[in-house]
């Protein structure tokens, strides 16, 4: 597939936002259960939410660039029963709403206690909103991922690993982002976020490597033989019916050489996983605290590259019909 930059930005930006939100709420939950010291600054959560919202809005904006008719975007909520894209379109604003309220709750310091657990844990509005947001964040991960994973012909995508990757990569970048963000707003949480970011990044490396390994072993199910229904070992397309290109050649071919693809692969493995992990580790254990906030700056471009590769590696069966373009 030809990587579409609007979609790359959409997925990476909202992924980071989702991760960031999860990071925030994780921190809040830890605090709630006393695993972390009480947080004085409620504005930290509010500002965090704002950052997430900015990322989400950026993603949303990017997505509009993907549409031929953005003015009709509202129509896309119509088919939530069948279309993961439609579902994403519904969940995304819901999630944004939840964050907004969540941030507001923190900002306004709404202390309305809804329940107090036996252990004495106080459940207030921000906790409820955070929980809803968490559910929505995961729902959004699933929707986004399923847009790709649900297409059986795109076999590189059609795997649970796509969903897991989406969650882990979003999570990793979100926690890295949180660490960066905490550097200024809540330095005491920085190591907490960084530690999680480290763990999730490593998990992401494992699952992404697993999907790379899986994809390497994939044998195409569709061949030129099944595509045109002729059984013969040697079939070569001589003409795709036009010479100046068509939608089918623009949308589905990245046009890059295998060596470019290879470099991008190693590049994103380094930039999205290995380097951030090293930086996080350095910050956490090697006493180079300056490294922590920089992890995200390395990881995010790495994830852009990862998304690019995600598209480029996907081999659409329609390409069998459009091999001959010179």
């Amino acid at each position: 597939m030809k990587p579409a930059f609007s979609v790359i930005f959409l997925t990476t930006l909202i992924g980071a936002a989702q991760g960031l939100f999860l990071a925030l709420f994780t921190a809040q939950s830890y605090v709630l259960f006393g695993l972390l010291p009480q947080q004085n600054e409620h504005t930290f959560y509010a500002h965090g939410s704002l950052v997430a919202l900015v990322f989400l809005t950026g993603g949303l904006l990017a997505s509009f660039f993907h549409l031929g008719r953005p003015e009709r975007a509202w129509r896309s909520a119509a088919k939530w029963r069948t279309s993961w894209l439609s579902r994403e379109v519904i969940v995304l604003p819901a999630f944004m709403g939840a964050i907004f309220l969540y941030g507001l709750a923190h900002l306004g310091g709404w202390k309305l206690v809804l329940a107090t657990l036996e252990s004495g844990v106080v459940i207030d509005a921000s906790v409820v909103l955070g929980a809803i947001g968490t559910i929505l964040a995961f729902a959004l991960f699933v929707c986004t991922a399923m847009i790709y994973a649900s297409l059986p012909f795109l076999r590189e995508w059609h795997s649970p690993l796509t969903v897991i990757n989406t969650i882990l990569l979003g999570g990793a970048s979100g926690f890295s982002l949180a660490a960066t963000f905490a550097a200024s707003g809540a330095p005491e949480l920085m190591r907490f976020f960084a530690a999680w970011a480290f763990i999730i990044t490593l998990l992401g490396l494992v699952s992404r490597s697993a999907s790379l390994a899986r994809n390497r072993r994939l044998k195409p199910k569709s061949t030129v033989q099944t595509a045109i229904g002729i059984k013969h070992p040697q079939i070569v397309q001589k003409s795709s019916g036009f010479l100046g290109g068509a939608f089918n050649t623009r949308e589905f071919f990245h046009g890059k050489s295998p060596s470019v693809l290879r470099s991008v692969k190693w590049g994103f493995l380094l930039a999205a996983f290995v380097l951030p992990a090293l930086m996080l580790a350095a910050g956490l254990w090697a006493n180079v605290p300056e490294a922590l906030p920089l992890a995200f700056a390395v990881q995010y471009p790495g994830l852009l590259a990862e998304r690019w590769f995600f598209f480029a590696q996907a081999n659409h069966p329609q390409n069998i019909y459009y091999q001959a373009v010179t």
Partner: protein, 243 residues
């Protein structure tokens, strides 16, 4: 239920592209149009076409087959392009099985084109909506046309009548008969899309001549004396055998 479709006979298609440009001219001024062309007189001209004719070479010289392969939307019975559409712009008509796009609803997200394994959809860059073969819905029900002209433009144009149109759910329709009797097959059956359009394979007619057919009593060379007839008086089995 009716499922309208095309059956394409690779046995007679000569790759002339008549179906390609006839489709274009019918549809560009029709309900699906206009179909835009970019750089129409410049470098790398490109445009929206609902139907393309491709060429494949099968085998090695001298045992080569050249196969001309027309392809448009296959109007799948289980069209994966439809459920993925977030707006409902892509739909399959219940009464005749035609898969269509409602250009007024389409937001141009291209997701349906990702979901079509056949590359049958083309995004129109000028209207910025998805387009595809309509099976000429604006012809086939047009009562202003003579009965035998209520067929897709490409079908009427095709000089070799390689394109047959009809209802594949009606076992007696010409398309069903062709599929049954000439081993019609669907493309990429592995995806369970059940394409309605079918393809008929190449069929080969051979001639077998037995050696003895070359030597016959009525050889005209006999008349001109080049193949002498043995004289009646020469010895024959008649002289030596008795039964």
């Amino acid at each position: 239920m009716t499922q309208l479709a095309l059956v394409i006979d690779l046995n007679v298609c000569v790759g002339c592209h008549a179906c390609v440009t006839n489709c274009k001219q019918w549809n560009t001024s029709g309900s699906a149009g206009p179909l835009a062309d970019f750089n129409p007189y410049g470098a790398d001209p490109t445009g929206t076409f609902f139907n393309r004719v491709q060429t494949f070479e099968v085998g090695k010289y001298p045992n080569t087959q050249t196969v001309h392969f027309p392809k448009s939307c296959l109007h799948c019975e289980e069209p994966p392009c439809v459920p993925v559409c977030p707006t409902g712009a892509s739909y399959k008509r219940a009464d005749d099985g035609i898969v269509l796009v409602d250009y007024d609803k389409c937001i141009g997200c291209k997701y349906c084109s990702w979901a079509c394994p056949y590359g049958a959809r083309e995004f129109d860059e000028s209207r910025r909506v998805m387009t595809k073969c309509t099976l000429c819905v604006d012809r086939i029900y047009d009562t202003a046309l003579a009965e035998n002209e209520r067929k897709p433009a490409c079908v009427l144009a095709c000089p070799t009548s390689a394109r047959i149109f009809g209802d594949i759910h009606d076992p007696d329709s010409p398309v069903s008969v062709a599929i049954r009797e000439s081993a019609g097959y669907p493309l990429m059956p592995e995806w369970g899309t059940y394409p309605s359009n079918h393809y008929l394979p190449r069929r080969k007619t051979a001639l077998h001549i037995h050696k003895d057919e070359l030597q016959r009593a009525d050889n005209p060379l006999k008349i001109d004396g080049l193949l002498p007839k043995p004289a009646k008086s020469e010895p024959s089995l008649d002289d030596v055998m008795s039964w």
